[in-house]
């Protein structure tokens, strides 16, 4: 168990190869119900698509219900350090609590903040507007179909550091 998985919003074709290797996937739609792509997660190992990022594997549930998701993906060239105080402050805000059922930061490399996935608790997308990570980079508010995201209890605080580059809040130093 690595504590993380690959995650991506695939905006192009979600072909058989991607589908057959994914542990979970679901259509992603916008507020206007227009299809924007496919949310998918794959096991740790070989990177499945160029845009894939590491996510806490506990956010994945093939039996999960449909949910609104606030997705922040920061382009590499402007990604802040994970240790940037603005990132730390967003993590503290998550630990304070709020209307969300699952959170993971996204990891591209050992040092920077690549983004976040925040799963909302209601069928009202307006709750997603309080995503603390959206203060770091604009978030896309998308609807995930069933079969993708888990409901998780709040992360155990007050720890906000990553463990050997794992996506927060995945814990443990073992690889």
């Amino acid at each position: 168990m690595t504590g993380w998985c690959w995650f991506a919003l695939v905006e192009g074709a979600f072909d058989d190869r991607l589908a057959s290797t994914a542990v979970a996937s679901a259509p992603a739609t916008g507020a206007d119900d227009a299809r924007v792509g496919t949310f998918a997660a794959w096991p740790a190992g070989r990177k499945p698509v160029e845009s894939a990022l590491r996510m806490d594997e506990r956010l994945v549930d093939p039996d999960g219900r449909a949910a609104w998701v606030s997705l922040v993906v920061v382009p590499r060239r402007i990604a802040p350090l994970f240790d940037d105080v603005a990132v730390s402050q967003a993590l503290r805000q998550v630990l304070r609590g709020g209307q969300r059922v699952a959170v993971s930061t996204l990891v591209r490399d050992a040092t920077t903040f690549a983004g976040s996935v925040t799963v909302g608790h209601t069928d009202d997308p307006r709750w997603q507007c309080d995503d603390p990570f959206a203060r770091l980079h604009p978030a896309r508010i998308l609807r995930a179909g069933p079969g993708m995201f888990a409901a998780r209890p709040a992360p155990a605080g007050p720890a906000i550091q990553r463990y050997t580059g794992k996506p927060w809040p995945a814990a443990g130093f073992l690889p």
Partner: protein, 168 residues
């Protein structure tokens, strides 16, 4: 206090609803890290308010030190959530309004027949819930200072992190 709650023994792996109402197990909350667990009377007790101000000050260090806190009381989740928010605590509060663990742990405060709260006690724990130190907080001065907690956490961390001595 249960005579088994001494250094070297395991603290019970309590399973209780957190401040959001989700059932949580202590061993999951430790997540492989050192842990401070405090049982407290309730939001209304000035001694608890003073002690929590101490823990809130310590959380700014704990957040970067791979360390967890858990606080347990008989307050129901919504009360614990309000108290936690007012403190600006960023750790998990567990609620035991049915007093499930009070008797097994021997932590019923018998002198308060109105609230029947947990008698204040603090534990520093290894990740497997083995007790490192116990603090009887019935009298306020029995509670650990932040210096004592730092010392405990240093000793636990030194014992569990194989790279405490910087790798060559």
């Amino acid at each position: 206090m249960n005579p088994d709650l001494v250094p070297g023994k395991q603290l019970t792996d309590v399973e209780l609803p957190d401040h959001d109402g989700h059932l949580r197990r202590l061993s999951d909350l430790s997540a492989g890290d050192p842990l401070i667990v405090n049982f407290y009377r309730g939001w209304w007790c000035p001694k608890e308010q003073a002690f929590f101000r101490r823990l809130v000050a310590l959380q700014d260090e704990a957040e970067v030190a791979y360390t967890r806190f858990v606080s347990v009381s008989i307050d129901p989740p919504e009360v614990a959530a309000a108290f936690r928010a007012g403190l600006d605590a960023r750790w998990i509060f567990l609620s035991d309004p049915d007093r499930r663990y009070q008797t097994p742990l021997g932590l019923l405060e018998t002198t308060d027949t109105v609230h029947r709260p947990y008698v204040p006690a603090a534990f520093t724990l290894y990740p497997d819930l083995r007790i490192h130190a116990v603090y009887n907080g019935y009298w306020f001065w029995g509670r650990p200072t932040n210096e004592q907690l730092r010392t405990d956490l240093r000793e636990i961390t030194r014992a569990i992190r194989p790279d405490w001595e910087v790798p060559a």
